[in-house]
């Protein structure tokens, strides 16, 4: 549990800049949610038995969580590692690169969880979700955050410069957002694309959160949890491997 010192360091910085950080993590997804939700919602009275805005809220919760986790674990972690040399300073204390990787991942997941749970709170306040089942979306958001934070940190420790992240964002995150059932049901995709979506973490996050917002238990819950955990675990192992390589030279 030595990594907690690193989590607390990031938390202390965040507290100083909380207003700006919250705004940048929440403004975009909420504007999208209400803009698209109410705008398109007029044309689409009901999707899978839900109002379009409630349907989209589940997708947007997961997408915003993904973006927060990814931005934090790529750009912010890279700034600490590369620009500020904060990691170098930490390594001079009795902490190791493994501790730093764990601290950074859990931190990014925590920040992502805050985004996800705030969007959930807004959804509840606006009456888009009312059943107690939505409470289970809170741990689900953390799990989505953990999966994307771990993968994002691999990108961070592989990066030689800031441009590197554009590849991952443009080639991985944006298409993933389009096929994971965020804006429309993934089931209407051609079979090969649906198969790709089912191998990706965002799809499984949406599959957990959407039924909870609708007010019932998700089907195939354990499979969805298993996929997200697998991404988190594999990402963590990969990030440790790549970070050790980077810092041993």
């Amino acid at each position: 549990m030595r990594w907690i010192a690193i989590w607390r360091r990031n938390m202390l910085v965040w507290r100083k800049l909380a207003a700006a950080a919250m705004l940048s993590n929440l403004a975009d997804p909420l504007i999208m949610l209400f803009g698209l939700g109410y705008g398109l919602g007029v044309l689409l009275p009901s999707v899978q038995g839900m109002s379009y805005i409630a349907f989209f809220a589940a997708g947007q919760l997961c997408t915003a969580t993904m973006f927060t986790a990814s931005f934090e674990s790529m750009f912010s972690s890279f700034a600490r590692m590369h620009g500020q040399k904060t990691w170098d300073a930490i390594l001079h204390a009795p902490l190791t690169i493994d501790d730093i990787v764990a601290g950074e991942i859990v931190w990014a997941a925590s920040k992502a969880w805050l985004t996800g749970s705030t969007i959930l709170g807004v959804a509840v306040v606006f009456g888009l979700a009312s059943s107690p089942w939505v409470l289970l979306a809170l741990p689900a958001a953390f799990l989505v955050g953990l999966a994307f934070a771990s993968v994002g940190l691999i990108m961070c420790v592989l990066a030689r410069g800031w441009d590197f992240f554009s590849y991952y964002m443009t080639l991985v995150m944006t298409p993933m957002m389009m096929i994971s059932g965020v804006f429309f049901p993934a089931e209407q995709l051609p079979a090969p694309l649906l198969a790709v979506a089912r191998a990706l973490p965002l799809y499984h996050g949406v599959q957990i959160v959407r039924p909870l917002i609708a007010g019932g238990p998700p089907s195939g819950l354990w499979l969805h949890i298993a996929v997200l955990l697998a991404y988190a675990a594999a990402g963590y192992a990969g990030a440790i491997y790549c970070a050790r390589r980077r810092f041993s030279s």
Partner: protein
Amino acid sequence: MSALRARGLRKSYGALEVVSGVDLAVAPGECFGLLGPNGAGKTTTLKLCLGLIEADSGDIELLGEPVPKRARKARARAGVVPQFDNLDPDFTVEENLVVYARYFGIDSTDISARIPALLDFAGLAGRGDAKIMALSGGMKRRLTLARALVNDPQLVFMDEPTSGLDPQARHLIWERLRRLTQEGKTLVLTTHFMEEAERLCHRLAIMDRGRIIAEGSPRALIAEHIEPQVLEVHGPGYEAWMERAKGLAPRVERVGDTVYCYGEDVEPLLKTLSGYLSYLHRPASLEDVFLKLTGRDLRD
């Protein structure tokens, strides 16, 4: 027992061997200097001793702990002042110390009690709330030094502690380092300021191309490697004068347009100086030893 002991250290990056068989022994309470031109392997040697990178061969013991096997334990009782300041820019002076202490498992109340003394040591008393951006280079360096002391270490590594500082700031750092030695702390520093090494270090090693090529106290090194007097001469006609000087001094060297004469007694040479020649007569220094042993070629 040594505070730091290394035997047969080797480390390569690809085909380039950066550290090629280094042996070190630093006694407790000693101020030990590692000197060398850029790229000599000093920083790599420090990283090996801290267990941040693994040696290809050789063994290290830092404060009684084998490194890298128990490097974490060893680092808990050591401090590090890195070559480039890496203070946390988002934090105040005091927060930098509190957060760094947490990395050592020291909780906020324990470190808070020590903060006034640490700030005082750093010459930053009353500046605990200052932002890092607002500090001068010397202040940042002193804060980095204070940060290295949060765990009350027995040994402090310093990688070029006064690089880039003005003379006032440098003298203040030297004074603090001497104070640490008086408190019984072991210091291991790398530098290429010979004056710094001469003033601070009880003992030093000169490193070049991954090897230690000389070791001893500053005075012993000067006595062993260099004649005690130096005369530097330049100006119009220095080439003709150099020919005369060769018969009067045991060692005469030309570097660019300057003639360096080394000897027990350079008085006879002084009498031959005439015309427009400029000269500097001085006792031999560690810098002469350094340049003699590592050569005058640029290391880029």
